[in-house]
């Protein structure tokens, strides 16, 4: 497909000194001071997702231009492009050892990529509609995917076979994720449900329902797997204690009524909740106090994805087609 790739000649907008080795001060800071460090230009259509690799070296971005681009996480340097999907890519995820990527595409397939060689290893076929979200389990022998066909599938990485199909949602699946030890799966759907599954058996263990049942646009386990962060299309993020089915915290102030926007836990410095927003900003809340502690301004379209670096105070954000860029924000807290 004829697409001019700007990737290689990425314009690095900001002069970046070395990646900040943030000083982790003992007392949690009141506010972070994230500032724009880099703008990564390369995608030719809306960016759909950005993810840092678990080893912290790279940033992967997927886009409606059917490409996945790997960037240096600290310097924003373009590394490589992975191509092979026939249609837009909605999500991309890293394996725990940062060697594999899985991507979910509107062409109803998922693809497993070898990052080092830029090679496509497997194509996972089985979904009957757009594949919208995907993730590896912690031991990275399983992949989970959610699709517009309202099913969640579990795949074996090695063989590319679908081992289990979970069909318990009645609307497109917006997000799926394993918990930190791989024993549980969480799935969120436009039907307003958020379900917890036993990964080994595929049994549904728990269902979280919000009072007014807004579509769930994103779900994510907390880093320790004790809580679940859910985003709903009524401008709300909630933190749940899923074992008791209780909502503990509610984060509001941003705008989210239309898109499935990624949000994230930031735990490298202060404890924050980070999310994109439809008012082109990145919002940062204090996890405990639920206050908005910072808004990052710079994007020119809906910030669809915000990701936090595993070890450094770096936030990556990506925006839709009026913007097409990825921005890296850094803080010394």
């Amino acid at each position: 497909a004829g697409r001019e790739r700007k990737g290689p000649e990425t314009n690095i907008a900001a002069q970046s000194t070395h990646p900040s080795s943030a000083n982790h001060s003992k007392e949690a800071p009141e506010k972070p001071n994230y500032a724009l460090k880099l703008t990564l230009v390369g995608h030719t259509a809306a960016v759909s997702s950005v993810k840092f690799s678990p080893n912290g070296k790279w940033l992967a971005s997927s886009s409606a231009d059917k490409l996945i681009i790997i960037w240096g996480a600290y310097d924003g340097k373009y590394e490589k492009t992975l191509y092979g999907h026939n249609l837009e890519i909605s999500d991309v995820a890293w394996s725990s050892d940062s060697s594999l990527l899985v991507s979910a595409s509107d062409d109803k397939t998922l693809k497993i990529w070898d990052v080092r060689y830029g090679k496509r290893l497997k194509t996972l076929r089985g979904h009957r509609n757009y594949v919208f979200c995907c993730n590896f389990n912690p031991s990275s022998n399983l992949i989970i995917s959610g699709s517009f066909d309202e099913s969640v599938k579990i795949w074996e990485v090695k063989t590319g076979k679908c081992l289990k199909t979970l069909s318990a949602h009645s609307d497109p699946i917006s997000a799926v994720q394993f918990n930190c030890n791989g024993s549980l799966i969480v799935s969120g759907s436009y039907d307003g449900l958020c379900r917890i599954w036993d990964a080994a058996s595929g049994q549904c263990l728990k269902t979280l329902i919000d009072d007014d049942n807004p579509p769930v646009s994103f779900v994510k386990f907390s880093p320790n797997g004790k809580y679940i962060l859910t985003a709903t299309l009524n401008n709300t993020l909630k933190l749940w204690d899923y074992s008791r089915g209780r909502c503990l915290k509610t984060y509001t102030g941003h705008k989210n009524e239309k898109y499935c926007i990624f949000s994230s836990f930031s735990v490298t410095g202060g404890k924050w909740i980070v999310s994109g927003s439809e008012d082109n900003l990145v919002y940062i809340w204090n996890l405990q106090t639920k206050e908005i502690v910072q808004k990052l301004q710079g994007h020119t379209d809906v910030v669809i994805s915000a990701a936090c670096h595993p070890t450094e105070n770096i936030i990556a954000s990506a925006a839709l087609e009026n913007d097409k860029t990825i921005k890296l924000w850094m803080s010394n807290y």
């Binding site: 399983l142 791989g182 080994a200 320790n224 797997g225």
Partner: protein, 889 residues
């Protein structure tokens, strides 16, 4: 003063800490013990205020109830990062992982052509299915599905801290599904051999390893079937491969293997003889369950084990329930006496499971034994918990240990505490967390706590050892001239040095001089005025039985009392929990299954029973409802649907077929009327299941009112009717049955059921001064199996019987017996509604009931091609609920 003793205790304790599995497994309790080590004068916090003889309850694997934190304010800091550290597995993780991967390592042995390249990862697409029959395709797909789920579980559990246990649970599940699939084709030899060969040839190595794991598991349960399946491949691979494979499949791996073998329990002091009271009449056709056999071998580590089996004459035909109980108690008793005479110095320990536990207690009241261990004590009866003033067990003087499951249906820890308060004998209670009546822990418990049944069993054993050591050393101390411990002597409390929980010492009751076994071998342990033999029945105030001096007689009555409560309680329980027996397989495959529900309801727990007919009489209503043809028409229902319904399903079919309450009369039995309702031997033609059914129907009809008995058919005859057909199945004589025009559709080709006569209990023959009532309720079971294997498989009914269900079934009889015995004033169950409901569309499945509920898992070599017994060993919810069902029966 207490210094020495304390020190020694500490050493003992420390030694135990190093070696005892129990210590490793349950740290909580040890903390408790440490407190007592420092403050041995302290009372344990859980010491019972009222019951000086009841030691504090010990909890095994009982998860402490999570304290509900007061409603969390939303401002409480939330920690999203810290991962709660996972508990270290209690077993040797490295070793467990190694055995866990055994099959994976040796998978190559299974391959017929070891030189050929293993099938590729996408082997599934390469499987050439041309020429496969539908049955083959179906079977293959089922197996594949099972293996695929297993694969998912393996991958998902990979790296988990308790991966071996999780894997074990997953493999068990997979094995169950494989077995289910194979049972769905009735273990058709050709088909399963084809399947095995095909799987071995086509499966990728990881899948093959999973398959082998499943085979390994099944081999332990049903060796003959698996062997039959492997025959063909063995000829292909050659001797070496076959041998390697058989070695691999020899026994299922256990995550706890290392720990258990390193912590062998030691022999009990005083080389006691351990008598195991059976919980039902034994029969050659129904060997004891694997679990009981396993325990027997476990206990043999502690001392010489002597199982006491009760053999019924004539294979049990014509033996009443009471007689049977009498036999059981008598057998144990005579064994005790025999041992006393042969080895007057040896301590005797009675151990029993469930009903056997009651038998053991009962015997301990009559004869002197050193200690009693009750495993899975059935405390609850319809009257409520045992322990009424007239309960003979309250007269026990023998130290007794109760081990119960936390989730037991026949017992409840709190009720148990109440009971223990009333027992005068020194007693201890161990509650096994998440365990059922047979002390089997649930799958969820295994998963969440990283336990295996073998570990739990070992811990239970440790507790038994602990208890017995205490009792034995103490009694030794009494016998021996030299007290072991000066301090203990000073306190007039025999202090057991081996016990680590010294503070738990129960002060001896002054009234109870320990009677050393050596001196008074045959005397009851207590110092009651009269011998316990006659005391037990007569001492109960309610019973106005003219004292029967013969031991024989009294034991009979005692036994009836013994069982009465038990049964009644079981009934009551059912009214709360409608016992259901869900079928575990998918509906699609259910053609060959049948669901059986048993509901037992009871109204009017008691009513005085005057002798005259006109007044209230016990009413027993038995209704068999077939869901399929509720109308109750005598049409032949489900049979056609299941061509390969094996004979083993006969019973369930019988129940299912007999339809609608309309058929079933409410039978009234009159107390004073002698009812000798022995059914005319009716004959079921050949082996056809349906006809059996119909026979039952007809029989039921026959016994309905309007029969020969004026106005009332005896309840027993009704039960008789129910059971007769089962019995008849056993009697193989062919001929026309009494079923009017209900010829059974031909049995399926493989449905040649082998029927073995089974013990049949006829209840009754109770004689009183004034009236004579002879009631016979034969309950017979059929034993059927596939045509090829005469080995046979105990049906659920039998399991019921062996499980003490027998006793429960007969519970009504004690009632009846007493009715006749005492003119009035005894509690009698007046109404018993027994509803057996079956779905004709599904065939068989008494067995899940049997398996889930009956303590006897099927014997390993037995064959029953029904998918129903898969729940064995897994006390799932299914199992639990079925248990209730059994209790009802």
């Amino acid at each position: 003063m207490a210094h020495r003793g304390g020190e020694r205790d500490f050493q003992t304790s420390a030694r135990r800490m190093g070696t005892s599995l129990l210590f490793q497994l349950s740290v909580h309790e040890r903390e408790l013990d440490l407190v007592f080590l420092d403050h041995s004068y302290a009372k344990p916090w859980s010491a019972h205020p009222d019951a000086s003889s009841a030691r504090p309850t010990r909890m095994l694997f009982v998860t402490p109830r999570r304290q509900h934190e007061n409603t969390i304010e939303s401002d409480v800091p939330i920690d999203v990062e810290t991962v709660t550290s996972t508990p270290v597995p209690l077993y040797d993780n490295q070793k467990a992982r190694s055995v866990m991967n055994e099959c994976e390592r040796h998978v190559i042995f299974a391959r017929t052509d070891a030189d050929a390249p293993p099938p590729p990862e996408d082997w599934e697409e390469h499987v050439n299915r041309t020429g496969w029959t539908m049955a083959q395709n179906k079977l293959f797909n089922k197996i594949l599905k099972a293996l695929q789920s297993d694969r998912l579980a393996r991958l998902a559990n990979e790296g988990a801290c308790n991966e071996p246990v999780l894997r074990r649970v997953a493999v068990d599940k997979c094995a169950r599904r494989v077995r289910q699939a194979l049972a769905s084709v009735s273990w058709d030899t050709k088909l399963i051999q084809w399947l095995h060969t095909t799987l071995v040839e086509t499966l990728s190595l990881p899948m093959l390893a999973a398959y082998l794991d499943a085979l390994q598991t099944l081999k332990g349960k049903i060796p003959t079937l698996i062997d039959r399946m492997l025959v063909s491949s063995n000829t292909k691979t050659g001797a070496a491969g076959a041998e390697a494979l058989s070695l691999l499949l020899k026994r299922p791996w256990d995550p706890a293997v290392g720990v258990l073998s390193h912590n062998k329990p030691s022999k009990l002091p005083g080389s006691p003889l351990i008598l195991i009271a059976s919980s039902g009449p034994s029969s050659s056709a129904f060997p004891t369950s694997r679990r009981h056999r396993f325990w027997q071998s476990q206990l043999s580590c502690l001392g010489k084990v002597i199982p006491v089996a009760t053999h019924l004459l004539n294979n049990g035909s014509g033996v009443g329930l009471l007689q049977c109980l009498e036999h059981m108690i008598g057998a144990v008793r005579s064994k005790v006496l025999e041992i006393h005479s042969h080895f007057p110095h040896k301590p005797i320990i009675l151990i029993g499971w469930n009903t056997g536990a009651l038998v053991a207690c009962q015997v301990s009241v009559m004869e002197y034994v050193t200690a009693v261990v009750c495993l899975g004590f059935p405390l609850l009866t319809v009257d409520g918990p045992r322990g009424d003033v007239d309960d003979p067990l309250l007269d026990m003087k023998t130290p007794v240990l109760f081990v119960i499951g936390q989730n037991s249906l026949q017992c409840h820890p709190e009720a148990m505490e109440d009971f223990r308060e009333k027992i005068r004998a020194e007693n201890s209670l161990v509650v096994v967390g998440g365990a059922d009546d047979n002390l089997r822990i649930s799958k969820a418990k295994k998963k969440s706590e990283g336990l295996t049944q073998s570990m739990v069993d070992r811990c239970i054993q440790d507790e038994i050892v602990d208890f017995l050591t205490g009792v034995l050393t103490r009694s030794e101390g009494h016998v021996g001239s030299e007290p072991r411990d000066q301090d203990a002597e000073k306190k007039k409390k025999p202090r057991d040095v081996a016990r680590r929980d010294l503070a738990f010492e129960v002060p001896e009751r002054g009234s109870r001089p320990a009677s050393p076994a050596a001196k008074l071998p045959a005397s009851p342990s207590g110092s009651e005025d009269f011998s316990s033999v006659s005391s037990s029945p007569t001492s109960s105030p309610k019973t106005k039985v003219t004292t029967v001096t013969s031991a024989q007689k009294s034991s009979q009555i005692g036994s009836s009392q013994l069982l009465k409560r038990h049964v009644q309680r079981a009934e009551a329980m059912l009214t709360h929990k409608q016992a259901q027996v869900p079928i575990s397989s998918e509906p699609a495959e259910e053609a060959e299954k049948e669901e059986l529900r048993v509901q037992l309801k009871r109204h009017h727990p008691s009513s005085p029973l005057p002798g005259s007919k006109t007044s209230k009489r016990p009413k027993i209503k038995v209704s068999l409802i077939s869901q399929g043809d509720t109308a109750g028409g005598p049409c032949v229902a489900s049979q056609g649907g299941a061509p390969d319904a094996a004979g083993g399903k006969a019973i369930a079919v019988t129940l299912g077929q007999a339809s609608a309450g309309g058929l079933l009369p409410t039978a009234r039995s009159s107390a004073s009327e002698g009812v000798a309702a022995s059914p005319a031997p009716s004959v079921v033609s050949g082996s056809t299941t349906p006809s059996t059914l119909h026979t039952l129907q007809s029989r039921l009809v026959a016994t309905s009112p309007g029969g020969s008995l004026p106005g009332a058919t005896s309840a027993s005859s009704l039960l008789q009717g129910l059971s007769f057909s089962l019995q008849d199945i056993s009697s193989k004589s062919s001929g026309s049955s009494g079923n009017p025009g209900l010829p059974g559709p031909g049995p399926a080709p493989q449905a040649a059921s082998v029927k073995l006569p089974t013990p049949m209990q006829s209840l009754g023959a109770i004689t009183t001064g004034t009236s004579t009532i002879v009631r016979t309720i034969p309950v017979a079971t059929t034993l059927s199996s596939l045509g090829a294997t005469p080995g046979g498989k105990p049906t659920a009914i039998h399991q019921l019987l062996t499980n003490g269900g027998l006793a429960k079934l007969a519970s009504s009889l004690p009632g009846l017996a007493q009715i006749s015995n005492q003119a009035s004033g005894l509690k009698v169950p007046t109404t018993i509604t027994l509803t057996l409901r079956g779905q004709p569309s599904r065939i068989t499945t008494l067995s899940p009931m049997g398996s889930g509920a009956a303590p006897s898992e099927e014997a390993t070599s037995q064959v029953l091609p029904s998918s129903s017994q898969f729940s064995e060993e897994e006390p799932t919810d299914l199992g639990v609920s079925t248990h209730g069902t059994v209790g009802a029966l």
